[in-house]
């Protein structure tokens, strides 16, 4: 008989080693449920953190995006300050003069790419030390946002009317005491289903009556279902200038011709610099933005938060990995004889390595899945508690959750699995549990 060297060409199908390992992993989970739960706790915490933050971020982003898109995606907003018009200006920007309402018409005339201009005069919520409130009969609302609006304002920001009509140019010029109400305000003042009952009725502001000519439809978007546009009490811009002479913060809404938004922004800048008499070296003393730019800024903030969350989650996952590694070391030691037996019936080192790696990954994925389930549950509770909150678990969070737990399983399981694979079968079979 000739002596020949054998070339083993055996191949253990993945499906079989996976199904065998799944079986064994489930067995060891069932045998030591407490141990398994403790082992995956770190992973669960990490995944819950990431996916919850992701859900909240996605919600805020969607709502805010909707809110700004409602103001018109073709519009350029011009204001003398950067940042939120209702917040106090920075020291640097405080000396800037508000924009003149008339600038809008000049821009619309001189800038080719600008189709129309509307103006909005912002009235602070506190006037002469008194919080503004609106009253109709015995109903009072102090969550009211008073603003002056040009006749075409509602058209340019795309605000829809549930009832009635916008102002006329005549009412604007004559400083007529007429008002358009946001949906929430109309409800608060004239009852649950105001309908057109509000039309023609009087709303009192600082003791003076305004006749309601229009009620706006409910706006979409907002921060957690709250859209301040729904609490608006709009009066003609001309009326606002007369009744609130100290309020001169004006936002110009400049609608660009379709597809010429970028061009419009440049042209508006040129015209405004001329109107403000800025020298070539002087910086702009006004701020231009579009809804996409605002959303873009928010997205950058959101991405920063997401990144910080992932860093935080990485710490939890690392702790989770230590837990997994610990359990795997115990499992390998406990099952030394089993490893010896497997080797005696033909398991190669790599088969043993693979088995324990799969077990470790399964354990981690189990943790990851638990984490996602807990996060989904918490997000579902949030949707009940917070109006307008949508149950969205972004795909990237799910992918990150499962991917990172898988990776944790491989990293944490590798050393114990290698220890198992390197066992001497004779020693392993002889092993007596301590």
């Amino acid at each position: 008989m000739p002596v020949h060297t054998r070339k083993p060409t055996r191949h253990v199908p993945w499906r079989d080693s996976v199904s065998t390992s799944v079986f064994l992993a489930l067995e060891s989970l069932r045998a030591h449920p407490g141990r398994a739960v403790l082992a995956v706790l770190g992973i669960v915490v990490g995944i819950v953190t990431v996916s919850l933050v992701a859900t909240v971020l996605a919600n805020v982003r969607n709502q805010v995006a909707l809110l700004f898109r409602e103001l018109g995606t073709d519009n350029v907003f011009a204001f003398h300050l950067s940042g939120d018009p209702y917040s106090p200006p920075s020291d640097e920007e405080a000396p800037r003069m508000p924009l003149d309402r008339g600038f809008g018409d000049v821009i619309a005339r001189q800038a080719d790419s600008v189709e129309a201009a509307a103006a909005q005069i912002l009235i602070p919520t506190v006037v002469n030390g008194r919080a503004l409130s609106a009253r109709a009969g015995s109903a009072v609302s102090d969550t009211v946002l008073v603003e002056g609006a040009s006749a075409n304002f509602f058209d340019i920001v795309g605000a829809e009317f549930a009832h009635g009509r916008p102002f006329t140019d005549l009412e604007d010029r004559a400083a007529a005491r007429v008002a358009v109400l946001g949906a929430s305000l109309a409800r608060a003042l004239f009852g649950g289903d105001a309908g057109d009952a509000a039309l023609g009725r009087e709303v009192y502001l600082l003791g003076e009556p305004y006749s309601v000519v229009g009620v706006l439809a409910q706006r979409r978007g907002g921060f957690f279902g709250e859209n301040r546009q729904d609490s608006v009490l709009a009066i003609p811009a001309g009326t606002a200038r007369r009744r609130f002479p100290d309020s001169d913060a004006t936002v110009l809404y400049l609608r660009s011709a379709p597809g010429r938004l970028r061009e419009a922004q440049t042209e508006i800048e040129t015209v405004l610099r001329k109107l403000r008499r800025l020298g070539p070296e002087e910086p702009n003393d006004f701020n231009l933005s579009t809804s996409e730019q605002i959303i873009g800024t928010l997205d950058r903030v959101g991405a920063g938060i997401a990144l910080a969350t992932i860093a935080l989650a990485a710490v939890s996952l690392m702790i989770g990995g230590i837990g997994i590694a610990n359990v795997m070391i115990i499992a390998v030691t406990e099952r030394t004889r089993e490893i010896g037996l497997r080797m005696s019936v033909g398991a190669r080192p790599r088969d043993v390595l693979r088995q324990f790696l799969i077990e470790s990954v399964l354990l981690s994925l189990f943790g990851g899945a638990c984490g996602l389930a807990v996060a989904a549950l918490l997000a579902a509770l949030l949707t009940l508690a917070v109006p307008g909150f949508l149950l969205v678990l972004p795909l990237w969070a799910v992918a990150f959750g499962l991917g990172s737990s898988c990776l944790t399983g491989i990293l944490a399981g590798y050393l114990p699995a290698r220890q198992a694979a390197r066992m001497d079968p004779v020693e392993a079979l002889r092993y007596e549990a301590a």
Binding site: F23, S344, R348, P349
Partner: protein
Amino acid sequence: MTSRDTSPGAHLLELRGVHKVYQVGSEEVRALDGVDLDVSQNEYVAIMGASGSGKSTLMNLLGCLDTPSSGSYRLNGVAVEALDDEELAAIRNEEIGFVFQTFNLLARATALKNVELPLIYAGLGKQERRRKAERALERVGLGDRMSHRSNELSGGQRQRVAVARALVNEPSILLADEPTGNLDSTTSGEIMELFDELNRSGNTVILVTHEDDIAGHARRIVVLRDGKIISDEPSR
């Protein structure tokens, strides 16, 4: 009956000048000290000796769980001493069927799953594994216990499952290490009858035991002392 042909290559397994030396602390332990042994197809051999005689070491070498420090071991024409871990695993899978004193079953797996284990490592498909495992279990008389978990079986039944596992991949040699050591005398008798029957139907069986009546089932008895073969004769 026993063939003592000494020409090379004529036997199922051939050991020539096999030494196994362990380093225990600063001392060298010569567990096997120049063993020559030939076993042919369909032999029924008992290896005997006191504890420390080297019979377990010989068993591990024959089962390819270990390799000799020096000397040669040919199994079915393959030079085992030259194989690496992967190749040894393949040999164990294809050529050797182990039966242990402590059964070494996966406690929470069914009899069928336990018997399928070598076939998983042989890379067989699910259906073929099942078919072969069922046949092996029927052969050891456990056709009605296939889906019992091994911790639901008696000692004798467990050892039968272990024998079925050893048989399932049709190995060249059945290697049994004190197969009745954990069984009562009635059950021991039944297990030994099973080995006798397997040998009659063509299997090569090598037993390691220190009990004379167990060794009496074999047709050839090899006795070791201090790592050397001191006697090698047909039984009775």
